[in-house]
Symmetry: C2
Subunit: 74 residues, 2 copies
């Protein structure tokens, strides 16, 4: 098994908010899958091995959305 | 007179979107005033002399919001 899975709880009010998070993660090198739920207020990101948690965290933080919690799942 | 004024047309769907843009600009050194209109879909930023257009543009772009146009007003 390789790669990481990161989970974040993010305040997103509308599809414009979740779309913005999706857009920045799509542009981030090493992201292999993105699963965003506006209903659950969650962002799940799968990445290659070399992409670390802090980089993903900071990319989401730069959207200006509030990250309520985050963790490394794998 | 000193400082700059920059104007951007940004797609923002809700107050969560405009709040996110406001949050990242508030954190940017050299920003002296921010005027965001969700109704008009506009972001007006006043800055000190040393803060250039590209830096402000890139900060907004990193929110994942679509910038439809932007210009230096002053």
């Amino acid at each position: 098994m390789s790669g990481h899975k990161y989970h974040f709880d993010v305040t997103m009010s509308c599809s414009g908010c979740s779309g913005a998070v999706n857009r920045v993660l799509t542009k981030l090198d090493g992201v292999s899958n993105i699963d965003i739920s506006l209903e659950k207020q969650t962002v799940d990101v799968a990445t290659v091995d070399s992409l670390d948690y802090d980089t993903v965290y900071n990319t989401i933080a730069k959207t200006g959305k509030k990250i309520n919690s985050g963790k490394v799942v794998e």
